[in-house]
């Protein structure tokens, strides 16, 4: 009865895309847990980043609240903060590199799933967008579709939305999100203007 109901829907393929995306997200997080999150290196790096972030916050708060007008003390404090910030950036970079190396398997799975979905739904609108997207988004939302109706939604766009929403929240729910202290530091950090 359920299959009859779903087959009667014009855009029932969208549910297939969402279902496959959800399963893919679960598989990817399982692989990530196996290769990244359960390793001692990752736990150690994450713990270091958490501790360093908290230490930096405490130092900055103390520095702001300090009533001392002693220039030497302030200069020494600033240097300490800079050292801790540099240490935080290095740890964040190491974490990013570590995840990047192990993320190749996850990337392969995502690529294969995208290829599968593409072969199933190429040239076929899987949903209807309730607005006309901006030109930049249309390149993705109308990818591979015939006609000029820009409210037709391609599999690629729906898959992108599913990936972002499901994976991000799944990571958050399972506690696999990157530590907040590492948010500002990336794989390629910009030079510190204070040191120049």
């Amino acid at each position: 009865m359920a299959s009859a109901l779903f087959s009667g829907l014009r855009y029932s393929d969208s549910l297939t895309v969402v279902g496959i995306s959800f399963c893919t997200a679960v598989v990817c997080e399982a692989i990530s847990w196996l290769l990244i999150y359960r390793t001692a290196s990752y736990k150690s790096l994450k713990s270091t980043i958490d501790k360093t972030s908290k230490k930096l916050e405490t130092m900055k708060t103390t520095d702001v609240n300090s009533a001392s007008a002693n220039l030497l003390k302030k200069t020494s404090k600033t240097k300490k903060i800079d050292r801790v910030e540099t240490s935080l950036k290095e740890s964040s970079r190491d974490l990013s590199m570590f995840k990047f190396k192990s993320g190749g398997v996850v990337a392969l799975v995502l690529f294969m799933v995208f290829g599968l979905l593409n072969s199933l739904f190429e040239g076929k609108p899987v949903a209807k967008i309730p607005f006309v997207p901006i030109k930049l988004v249309q390149k993705m939302s109308h990818r591979g579709l015939a006609g000029d109706d820009m409210t037709d939604c391609s599999m690629a766009f729906l898959y992108l939305l599913c990936s972002i929403s499901i994976r991000t929240n799944l990571q958050k729910f399972l506690g696999f999100s990157p530590p907040r202290g590492a948010a500002g530091a990336g794989l390629f950090p910009m030079p510190d203007p204070k040191s120049s």
Partner: protein, 134 residues
């Protein structure tokens, strides 16, 4: 005002053993009460998580409603963005009365879960609209 708000971070939460041992439901009344308590002390991670999940629930709810009515047009996307941001701001500034400087400023608090919530909203809006009206 700043002294009062800063003092909130330093004060210890008052223990309420009779509520912490409450057995019914997944969330104890103690935790739920903290979500609406302007005198509660917040850790940066705790507040960030609460704001993140609040945004996701707002995105899902608005997406379902927008798709069911249905609301059609890009203006409704902008309305969601404004509504979501306004509700989050009102929550942490008026209900929780947190000092945004202690948590990285308005930008840091308002961007918690923003991108994911927009994706959740669009996904829910598109799915409900497509399945319910075609």
């Amino acid at each position: 005002m700043r002294e009062r708000k800063s003092a909130k971070l330093n004060q210890q939460p008052q223990p309420q053993p009779q509520l912490q041992h409450h057995q019914n439901g997944h969330l104890s009344p103690f935790k739920l009460a903290k979500l609406l308590d302007p005198d509660a002390s917040w850790d940066k991670d705790q507040l960030g998580d609460v704001l993140h999940w609040t945004r996701q629930v707002l995105g899902l709810f608005c997406g379902l409603i927008w798709g069911a009515i249905p609301l059609v047009g890009g203006i409704w996307f902008l309305l969601f963005a404004a509504l979501s941001t306004g509700i989050i701001y009102a929550y942490y500034a008026i209900v929780l009365k947190v000092d945004e400087e202690e948590f990285g400023g308005h930008g840091a608090l308002l961007q918690e879960g923003l991108f994911a919530s927009i994706s959740v909203f669009l996904l829910a809006w598109i799915l409900v609209y497509s399945l319910a009206h075609f």
